[in-house]
């Protein structure tokens, strides 16, 4: 391998400082991995932002400019919080790497369109401050920051976070009349007849980014095309949700919603494509990833069907985030030539 090309194309990771001017040194000695690609944290993050654009556009289409305002507020407060923390800790200012933008966008995607601005600011500050910077910044956070912000808001403002509005496009839409999400209708009113097409397109009540499944899938496929996400994570998660909910649906179709309903209702799509696949908070080993998505999928269905809340995607992912270090440790593949310790 030509060492000279290595220094320009080396993978840059967030925690490591920029290498000192290596042009002056003739021989570059760096630690593995030595494979060549020209990815960097900002590039990946900006591609994720691009992948979120269809869902953003769909949310503005369905919920109006109020949705755009919420997204802008969340992104701005995430960036400001990140800046303040890095400034205070005398760390290099890395707000341009785009990770805070993603956290802000994803957090806004999980909020209802009528959510108050001060709540969005509070959630963003918590997501970046407590969820990310207190753990040491990008790459060190245990939990997905956006989901942590959402969980905090859910506990802080339980009424406001579940006050949904109808999308503008619905026929019965009257401005700012509270609505019920398909999941809430299924759980509390036993109504299972929400048209599937409406849920796929996004013509239902819900948070900004979770209604339009098709826009999220588009973004997810773009990420898959770029090679940033492993197909195991989203498909394993969605597959588990479908398979596990099918067991209940087959046992009593009048009582339990169908697997298709589970896939397209609520945050399943958003969670599967953008939160389960978070590079920092998902396992690195293949077996670990399988365990992660399968247990998370089962948990999501269990919470949806038998828990007190209509939606379980957020808690299922946060819960499994906590197990990622353990999964990484115990599913480490055998190193070539390594012998297992013999039990005596």
């Amino acid at each position: 391998m030509d060492q000279k090309t290595l220094d320009t194309k080396e993978i840059k990771t967030a925690p490591t400082p920029e290498p000192p001017s290596q042009a002056a040194t003739k021989l570059v000695v760096s630690s593995s991995p030595h494979f060549l690609n020209n990815e960097s944290v900002p590039k990946i993050m900006h591609n994720v932002v691009t992948a979120l654009l269809p869902a953003t556009a769909a949310s503005v289409y369905f919920f109006g400019w109020r949705a755009l305002l919420l997204i802008i507020v969340c992104v701005a407060s995430c960036l400001l919080t990140e800046y303040a923390f890095q400034k205070k800790r005398n760390k290099p200012i890395k707000i341009y790497d785009g990770s805070a933008i993603i956290t802000g966008m994803l957090l806004a995607m999980t909020l209802p369109a009528g959510f108050p601005i001060f709540g969005a600011v509070l959630g963003s500050v918590f997501a970046i401050g407590v969820g990310k910077q207190l753990f040491g910044g990008l790459g060190f956070n245990i939990f997905n920051p956006a989901l942590l912000g959402r969980a905090f808001l859910m506990a802080t403002y339980p009424v406001l976070t579940t006050t949904w509005v109808w999308p503008r496009t619905m026929e019965k839409a009257v401005d700012a009349v509270t609505a019920a999400t398909p999941l809430a209708m299924a759980k509390f009113e036993g109504k299972l007849d929400v048209p599937l097409m409406d849920m796929i397109l996004g013509n239902t009540a819900g948070s900004l980014g979770e209604t339009s499944a098709i826009a999220i899938i588009l973004g997810g496929l773009y990420l898959r095309y770029k090679g940033y996400i492993n197909w195991k994570l989203p498909l394993g998660y969605l597959g588990t949700i479908a398979a596990f909910s099918a067991i209940f649906w087959l046992s009593d179709p009048t009582k339990y919603p169908s697997p298709l309903f589970h896939l397209f209702a609520g945050g399943a799509m958003l969670g599967a494509w953008f939160m389960v696949t978070d590079m920092v908070t998902s396992p690195v080993t293949s077996l670990g990833q399988w365990i992660f998505v399968i247990v998370a999928g089962i948990l999501a269905v269990v919470i949806r069907l038998f828990g007190g809340l209509p939606e379980g995607v957020m808690y299922s992912i946060l819960f499994m985030n906590a197990f990622v270090p353990l999964l990484n440790k115990h599913t480490r593949p055998k190193v070539f030539g390594e012998a297992r310790a013999q039990k005596v």
């Binding site: 108050p116 001060f118 709540g119 407590v130 905090f152 506990a155 802080t156 403002y157 339980p158 406001l160």
Partner: protein, 209 residues
Amino acid sequence: MANNLGYEFKKGLWQELPPFRLVLGLCPTLAVTNSAVNGLAMGMATIFVLFTSNILISLVRRTISSQVRIPAYVVIIATLVTVADLFLAAVFPAISKSLGPYIPLIVVNCIILGRAEAFAQKNSILPTAADTLGIGIGFILSLTLMGTIREILGFGSIFGVKLLGSWFEPWIVMILPAGAFLVFGGLVALVNWISSRKTEKAAEAAMSR
């Protein structure tokens, strides 16, 4: 001697502040501080048990053989906790009801047994009194502080008096257990930060001298 007593008293207020520096007595610190009144009442009940039980233990420390000291201490502490429990139930029934099982649980509060083991069984009455009063007042202040912060954020009030107007949307999380952990973590960080600044300043002063 007087100097020594002053030190024994003062160390409980900052240097060995039970919940934030020693990280002892966390069960009441986290469980009952959802309002300032509850925090204060819990602190008062604890300081009563702490003070009287440690004085008694200090008095009888020579007559109890060390093999059976723990059961003997627990009997003394449990007796006094029963006194505190019945007193609260008779005089402040509302507070007694809102503190629930946490008053009887003072028996297993590790601050009390900890002080008995670490201090009262080795010292005479006067230093023991100074020590337990310091630790107890530190504990009252810590619990009241926790309760105040959580009550302001969670209800918008302080000691039941409305502080923040109707524009304030209460943070429900603050009166839930999760809020207790968040506030506790924040306060431990704050206390550590202040004390590390103190040592830095002391080191600087020593350097310049």
